[in-house]
Amino acid sequence: MMTPSPALLEVKGLKAFVESTEILHGIDLGVSPHEVVAFIGPSGCGKSTFLRCLNRLHEETPGGRAEGRVSLEGQDIYAVGTDPVRIRRRIGMVFQKPNPFPSMSIFENVASGLRLNRIAKGIELEARVEAALREAALWNEVKDKLDASGMSLSGGQQQRLCIARALAVKPPVLLMDEPTSALDPVSTAKIEELVIQLKKETTILMVTHNMQQAARISDRTAFFLYGDLVEYGPTTKVFTTPSDRRTEEYITGRFG
């Protein structure tokens, strides 16, 4: 193996396709540990696809395919012979709409990654489920009804349940694809607070359409436009003195 790169995640020349349409035109980007990176840009510009390339979920989309190099802790996740299942255990994901497993209880939802991958069982499993629910700031609300269906929770609680489910396997990277776009302002605030807390444990890459949200919680911001990474830098710099005219126009609301 080569010398490990200082970055946790290193993306080089990443192109993504659906059938023959190129969605991402060669993205280069690096992420350091314990950072929150926000991805902004108009709808359909490839932010979500980019995120889904990082845990090799894009290839599950019919016709989906990716090219280029994505290394996680120095290991190329697109190298021949790499099992996407192993990669996904180290990169958690939270989706736009809360998607708890419908037939499972709250406990089973959080336990699913640990149990089905045979990582933990018995008392250790219970402890890790509790820890994950506490990390997701949901424990106090559900500790008395762990056997209730995950679907019985409110939208905001369901989303935190999904965050707990992703955190239970302790991934070094957590991808969040517009995690608050389906939630009310109170739930959104809770999840934003959570993201800031979680930075200590993991590294978060979050797609958002909410510019204020990106400004509030991220350390770095990436601006995508039509499948290109236009600008990537410290959030304060991107929002106050962007180096690209298109970034400035988007942030000030002149298009998008």
Partner: protein, 276 residues
């Protein structure tokens, strides 16, 4: 009171009348079968063999047992095969084998049941020189397998893609996502589908005429002809005897009660989760 209000009223009235009209045949069948068949339902009717021609009394116990044997054998073949095919059709729909299978299932489910009976006759009865429970179960399976496969496929396709993606994103292998999340999560609807398929084949007559045939004796082994409720009803109904006609109605009532019982079973043992 404007015209929209009256239009709404008129529409509701129309829909309700149509619903009532649809219920008429259902309830008249039930009423007719009960009024003609209830008198036959003595304890002996369930437990004894048919009486010889001319004698009053006797029952269809052997046919009830025969139907239970046939349905069990058929379920043992069809449920695993049907569920497996359903998973293949729904979860691996892009694979060529799945496309071919889809067409096969489509064709199988549109074959008239009498043709299924003839086919099983040529396939099993002729080579083994005799009607048998085996042949009956195989004929019924040819009807039940596509039923189970189709409902399984449709139920699994109802599971949203976001749920599958959540499983994959957790690092679960695809097989685990399918089995532990998609399949187990659809258990309720799959059970309903299977029970409805059982109810459907419980009443099949045509496939049994050339395969399990009929018998006046208790179950004598899987390689022997076997009585079943639908065939027994047929035998009794076409006879010239009043007493046998009454017994045919009694058999019909038992069949209806069995199907009704299966439906009730679904409702009692599989209550829909209020929250799910």
């Amino acid at each position: 009171m404007n015209w929209r209000h009256w239009l709404n009223r008129l529409f509701i009235f129309g829909v309700c009348s149509l619903a009532l009209i649809a219920l008429v045949p259902l309830f008249s069948v039930l009423f007719y079968v009960i009024s003609h068949g209830a008198s036959s339902l003595t304890p002996g009717f369930f437990t004894s063999l048919p009486a010889p021609v001319g004698e009053i009394g006797g029952g269809i116990g052997h046919a009830i047992l025969g139907s239970v044997v046939l349905i069990s054998m058929c379920s043992l073949i069809s449920i695993p095969l049907g569920l497996g095919m359903g998973i293949l059709l729904s979860e691996y729909s892009q694979k060529p084998v799945s496309r071919v299978l889809g067409v096969v299932v489509e064709l199988l489910s549109s074959i008239p049941s009498i043709v299924v009976g003839l086919f099983a006759y040529a396939l099993v009865v002729r080579p083994f020189r005799g009607f048998s429970a085996h042949a009956g179960a195989i004929a019924l399976s040819m009807i039940m397998i596509p039923l189970v496969a189709r409902t399984t496929e449709e139920m699994l396709k109802l599971v949203p893609r976001s749920v599958r993606e959540a499983g994959l994103a957790l690092g679960l292998p695809k097989a685990r996502v399918i089995l532990n999340i998609v399949f187990m999560g659809s258990m309720r609807s799959l059970t309903v589908g299977v029970i409805l398929a059982v109810a459907r084949i419980a009443g099949e007559t045509a496939p049994l005429l050339f395969t399990a045939f009929a018998s006046q004796h208790w179950f004598q082994g899987l390689s022997e002809p076997l009585a079943s409720i639908p065939v027994q009803i047929y035998t009794y109904a076409v006879s010239p005897y009043e007493d046998w006609h009454a017994k045919a109605w009694g058999g019909a009532l038992i069949l209806i009660l069995m199907v009704l019982g299966l439906n009730l079973l679904i409702r009692v043992f599989l209550p829909r989760r209020k929250d799910g």
